[in-house]
Symmetry: C2
Amino acid sequence: MSCIAATPAPPYYAVIFTSLRSDDLTGYVAMSAHLTALAAQQPGYLGMESLDDAHTSITVSYWQSLDAISAWKRNLEHHEAQRLGREQWYRSYKIRICRVERDYAVGVSM
Amino acid sequence: MSCIAATPAPPYYAVIFTSLRSDDLTGYVAMSAHLTALAAQQPGYLGMESLDDAHTSITVSYWQSLDAISAWKRNLEHHEAQRLGREQWYRSYKIRICRVERDYAVGVSM
């Protein structure tokens, strides 16, 4: 993770995507990089924080509204990546859609 | 991260703690393990997912209510850890308190 996402004052929305990967990661790294860049171009995108280790990942993306999250979920390239994820890359995953009620920070430009 | 947290049906609450560490990590690993165990004993605790790399961490803890989160924030040992975190271990961090509105999973026992 390169930095803490510079999100605006709440309320806004977070998508917490937690995953355990399978052993077949063909195409995974390239698609992951592509999707990260593509997400950043979507209307209502506010930022992303992501870390992974050998087998698991946590990716939190931040959005202005539930509508922005729904539109990103329906994006055609993202939709294809979701299919590959379910069928090939992930052993299991969980997605949580959250409303950020409040936040506070230390040492971060708000 | 060992597994995806087995949280109940929404609504419930998430605390997303994103941090960039300093170079002085004296006592950090022991306190981190202690706090993880201590959090799991708190009323309203539902689970935790955490990953870190050399300099950054994402820890998401799940709770039944905002009251449970407030009580954990005020816990004396946690309070001391927060002070050490601000003064010593973290270059910067951000904490987001979220209401999980909905979730879905693939390959996870719900």
